[in-house]
Point group: C2
Chain length 499, copies 2
């Protein structure tokens, strides 16, 4: 297939909404000195009764407004406090201070909304990420979180741009579902039944016929199976939506509610699948680097600062920008599970029994420590592990012929990233109806509940592949943040659904 | 504010994934006659043992492959049935048939996946939309649903493109929530408790401390309140995600799970809000018209065909393309609720008592029949109704000063579209803490559960506005489909959560 961009015919730009004020990001790049401008934003600091640093969220940088304090009423000056919303009218002038090119010489200052400095939780000092997580509704007002969520925004848009340029159809797969796509995983139940006193059948079981959907339903763990239905019609589709896991995992890499990107492609074999995944990741990271240079520079400095508290040996060899460029400039290493196990067996931490889980035999699932060794120590770049043992992977993956020792593998591929672990999980799908049915029977998935899915193998079945990208892990990697709760606006984790 | 497009610096295109075959959409526009090509796709029809119409989902149009049936094995010819997947290698040649510019003179035909014509539900004839809804997992393979979901895809991408060009931050607000944003509405409960035997407190009530999140949680009905937190930090944000209503409404315009777009803007007053909403709707419809001309032409014909079965008086005056252009070319009519009520009181259907709900007094909510009269009969274009009575709108809307008769209204705005009714609902928000608290007390919303939301009014409160667009209603309007279940891949409605 030679992809092409068929949307080029649309060249219109969106109309501009006319407002009284100009956004600070635009002013910071302006050169029309002497022009009268209006700024609206929130006070970050107010120094010497004279210099207001104002931020309106459009940029991580503030604009400085210089107040003529002798001609400004005392009661206004008093109310220019951190967090207050102000309107400043004045002249845009070249700045004499360092660190800024422009500033506003204020002729009028008014308070739009006060902020009591005794009560406002965000003070002009460094707050810990833990503290900011407690006030997640206000943390967007800090430089760090402004940068994180601007990068998140850029990555999200880049995902859409990439797939649209490649003529994929964006498909909204259902959130509430009666089926468990992975045939595993702990799921959230969705119901409108009265939990205190649900309707029951004669045998005492809950009568889900009375529930909203007339049956028991859950929150989706993956849009893949529905995505396959789309791929068998449109050729190439992708989803980008929320998915859910009711796992009691309190780690820095797990969320109960997270966003996932799941493309699914007809006529793609495993190699094509890997090519696509690698191209996608490089494209979106490049997009973030190029459209958010200030934010990523800020996050690079933040990370360097954070790492100062670590022993030198534990600090990253590369800074954030170097790390992102490194991913762009190198091919991901493609290794079979079988080869990876050989590497791990012979590795120093295995020989010296430093791994918590020692690698003795072929067949075991790899642990985080093994993935990190492969990615961070052995190959020192993103790794695509393929052809995993059949028994540790999902029923829908295409089965390879048994190898010389009679071992069964499937055409799976996981992409492992430094510091993150699994960024992508995917596979070529089993397109043969009989093999798929046999595997479903082995693992105990009732075929009669999956007739709609099996129809894709009955009517014009074709080789096809797909994968899922954990979006928050992508944001985590690109921003250099270390806790996944800091890269989604309002994290949902065990015992926590605040805001 | 003068908006600007700051992403222009990114000019890279996504890399092309090399495949053996070329997608049909590309071949249909190709002119390199004589070139050898490979097509992979599904058989739509096979005529005279010679002409295969193949579709791969990239286009609503098929490509014709001409088989040299005398030199093709009989057992292959037999398996070229509707729905089967085939690979055809051959020469791209200029077509002599009408309705197509190119065709493929096949030199090799192979079957990738069979389709038993006795069992395949989609036959080359017209199926009813009701029947296709029963086999929603296969309906994407028809021309109508290919066109509908291509237009849906274009509209979704255009939404992102519009907001990105205007420097809005895409924000993923939570799906699982402990709060009810509208202060009303029937919600789906989310739980991991054992429904048969949930943990109970001493007084017999369910003990939600034992639930996954340590409290009772629901599926979100709106991301607005969290969006407001974002607007108070980034200035302009938007959400685009699934929302849920557990309403037992079995209509052609309601879904239990639907996608909503919710922008929220600091420093926007109601007029700015209306300007933005109108600009957004025009932009995305224009994008669909310009990037999906064949799909919309197809849907126009489909609608004309469907309307033939109606009495002439009930048919649309404008065809689909004319209707879409009409929206682009006209300003939306902006009318206050108070003026609209006067128009309705004096209207013929009210005078002749043809309305089911007669308009006598100021204060009642408008019904669908009234909205349709205003939009379809009186103004004959999209209408923005503003300044509704306070009592019929949400607590968070900004209160106007009482009018001369002492009537209380709020700065609400609903955008009504012909054939659809409410496409957009929005308002300026009440930014004054005391007024907001008073209103919450009146309608019985406990302030202590909303402290995080109230903080936006405590610390640097500013005038701000936002609105919600029901995405499926937008798709309904743009595609000319008449049942909302036909514009989302797998509709969720009372007693229905199939696939």
């Amino acid at each position: 297939m030679y992809c092409f961009f068929n949307k080029a015919s649309f060249t219109s730009h969106s109309p501009k909404i006319k407002m009284e004020h100009t956004r600070i990001k635009e002013l910071l790049n302006a050169t029309e000195f002497g022009k009268e401008v209006v700024v609206k934003g929130w006070v970050r600091t107010f120094r010497n009764n004279q210099f207001i640093a104002i931020n309106d969220g459009s940029s991580i940088n503030n604009i400085q407004a210089v107040v003529d304090f002798e001609n400004t009423p005392e009661d206004i000056l008093k109310r220019i406090t951190t967090g207050a919303a102000v309107r400043v009218k004045g002249q845009l002038i070249e700045s004499l201070g360092k660190g800024q090119k422009v500033e506003v010489k204020a002729t009028e200052v008014s308070i739009i909304g006060d902020s009591d400095p005794e009560k406002y939780p965000l003070q002009p000092k460094k707050h810990s990420l833990e503290f900011l997580r407690e006030i997640a509704h206000l943390r967007f007002r800090t430089g760090t979180f402004n940068a994180v969520f601007k990068v998140r925004n850029a990555l999200a848009f880049a995902v859409h741009k990439f797939f649209q340029e490649n003529d994929f159809v964006y498909m909204h797969t259902p959130i509430i579902t009666g089926s468990d796509a992975e045939g595993a995983g702990e799921m959230f139940q969705v119901t409108t039944l009265n939990l205190s006193n649900p309707p029951r059948k004669e045998n005492g079981e809950i009568d889900f016929k009375e529930d909203f959907f007339g049956k028991s339903t859950n929150l989706t763990v993956s849009g893949q199976l529905e995505g396959e239905l789309g791929a068998m019609a449109f050729g190439n589709i992708y989803t980008f939506g929320p998915t859910f896991r009711a796992e009691n995992s309190n780690t820095t890499r797990h969320l109960a509610e997270f966003w996932m990107i799941e493309p699914e492609m007809a006529f793609y074999e495993l190699e094509d699948n890997m090519d696509l995944a690698e191209a996608l990741l490089k494209y979106v990271i490049k997009y973030a680097l190029e459209t958010c240079p200030e934010e990523i520079e800020f996050l690079k400095s933040r990370l360097l600062e954070e790492e100062k508290s670590k022993p030198a040996a534990e600090r990253s060899e590369l800074n954030l920008v170097e790390k992102l460029n490194f991913v762009l400039e190198n091919n991901f290493e493609r290794v079979t599970y079988t080869d990876a196990v050989e590497i791990l067996k012979r590795s120093k931490p295995n020989q010296k029994k430093q791994f918590k889980y020692l690698i003795d035999d072929w067949g075991a699932d790899l642990q985080s420590e093994h993935e990190r060794y492969l990615v961070e120590k052995h190959f020192k770049k993103p790794v695509i592990l393929t052809d995993y043992p059949r028994e540790i992977k999902s029923f829908y993956m295409k089965q390879n012929e048994p190898d010389a020792q009679g071992r069964n593998t499937v055409r799976a591929m996981d992409i492992l990233f430094p510091g993150i672990g699994e960024m992508v999980g995917g596979s070529q799908r089993e397109e043969n109806l009989d093999r798929l049915l046999a595997r479903m029977a082995e693992v105990g998935i009732p075929a009669e509940e999956m007739e709609w899915f099996l129809d894709t193998r009955r009517f014009g079945s074709v080789p096809h592949s797909g994968f899922g990208v954990g979006f928050e892990r992508l944001v985590l990697f690109t921003t250099g943040m270390t806790n996944i709760r800091d890269v989604i606006p309002f994290p949902r984790t065990p015992k926590n659904a605040e805001f």
